[in-house]
Symmetry: C2
Subunit: 281 residues, 2 copies
């Protein structure tokens, strides 16, 4: 569906960019809300929204489709706050949270099957706030769409919104499968980058030059701590399992290096290289 | 010094790029050797060298300055093989190895103080071979120059070569200090990227989409396994120490996540973010 009026709650990097691209794609009215006044003013000035309102309820009141683009824990709270209005207005609703099981469970518990499906666009930036919105591109990005148990019709409408308005590539996915998969493909890389940065902050030499390798490996560590605290806690079990896999791997390396096992060390490095080269193909 | 004839032994990404930039900077003759015939032919064809010779000794015979650009263990062997000729011809010599203490010790043991200083340019690529040479830029790169105990004069000449011919930024550095520093700034990021890639190869979901975050965090894993086997073994003690720091940090994260300690988890993520944002300033 292509909404006449799109609502966006949260105008940071993800929500701000989504609003901006929707305006560019010809959505006539894009109504925004943010608890950060400066962000709302910046979004209006940049033409990312056509109207700024003072509370989330006013967004639902005006919109055919509402996108929850607040941090993960806030999106969960918003579902509860907006439930009545969504049902009364029959407003379609989705969210941009990087974890999906908690969101889908909450929406299903609230009986929002006809109105809600989760979304997780595989795009982002290590920047935060509306000023980082320019770095977030939705075009051709994979977007996981996670339906509620009785929510196939709403999920199809929302998938169509991603494809027709944002030119993104929606992929239907079970919310629990999504979270288990993302623990490996996204949450583990994030905590590894954060742990490397924390290690270098604590023990690394001061006032030295870091090359492009160290910069790339730690880039994700610059991402929003509030967002990642929420994601990691909401996907705790799966992240702990992935973390255990990484710890085992570092233990293997420690053994090989302690024993100066040149041939096995080469094999270990080749394993990582083969996987990474395939990723670039 | 600006050599009339520059010799480059090893025409992979690092040596090939250095040769090519020297030709562009006006060095009249650049003599190359590589044990890989196709690489030598490609370097000649691309105009990265002006002459290709059949053995490392012939490079020394013709050159005012010789750069050893083979993998780390091979560079160490070359020092022994070329010692007599370097002394007879009074040829200046340096190398591009990412570890410096083993190289400087070997060169000092061979009595090469008047002719040799180590170099480590902070540039590179995850590609390998001459075909990846275009990705290696020396201009404005920091180059650590590590003198031998009695080798200040040779080190000054070699630092001047980096500055005047390659437009790089030479920085004098003690070889042992260099290796301890690089264990943190380069070798730890490399093994973390390799371990993450190996973990995802072993346990990660198959046939799924990886976003830009996972790609950046694992980019270094694509680097040459032979080169990194040598580097890690030559700097084993310092790398094991850095690895222990990283393992402790992952252990801290495990505790915070297991206990669902939201406030401490936020603080942990902020520590990494503060460090990484400062790196980008």
């Amino acid at each position: 569906m292509k909404p006449d009026v799109l609502g966006v709650i949260g105008l940071g990097a993800m929500g701000g960019s989504l609003a901006w691209h929707a305006v560019r794609a010809g959505v006539e009215r894009v109504v925004g809300y943010t608890p950060v006044p400066a962000e709302g003013a910046a979004a209006l000035k940049a033409g990312a929204i056509t109207e700024l309102v003072g509370d989330p309820q006013s967004v639902v009141l005006r919109s055919d489709l509402v996108v929850l683009a607040a941090p993960p824990a806030a999106n969960l709270q918003l579902l509860g706050k907006l439930e009545q209005q969504i049902k009364q207005q029959k407003t379609l609703c989705t969210d941009l949270t990087s974890v999906k099981l908690a969101v889908v469970r909450k929406a299903a518990a609230l009986g929002l099957d006809r109105f809600f499906a989760g979304s997780h666009p595989l795009t982002g930036t290590d920047g935060s706030g509306f000023q980082a919105a320019g770095a977030v591109k939705y075009r051709e990005a994979v977007v996981y769409v996670t339906p509620l148990p009785e929510g196939e019709a709403a999920a199809r409408e929302i998938a169509d919104f991603w494809a027709s308005v944002l030119e993104a590539a929606p992929v239907f996915c079970d919310a629990a499968d999504h979270d288990r998969m993302l623990a490996w493909t996204s949450h583990l890389p994030q905590v590894v980058a954060s742990a490397l940065a924390a290690t270098l902050a604590r023990l690394g030499p001061k006032a030295v030059t870091y090359g492009p390798g160290a910069r790339d490996t730690t880039r994700l560590a610059a991402s929003s701590p509030e967002m990642w605290r929420d994601i990691l806690l909401l996907n705790r079990e799966a992240v702990l399992e992935a973390l255990a896999g990484m710890e085992d791997e570092l233990g293997t390396l420690r053994s090989l290096l302690s024993a100066s096992s040149a041939a096995e060390l080469l094999g270990w490095l080749e394993k990582g290289r083969t996987w990474r080269r395939r990723l670039s193909e």
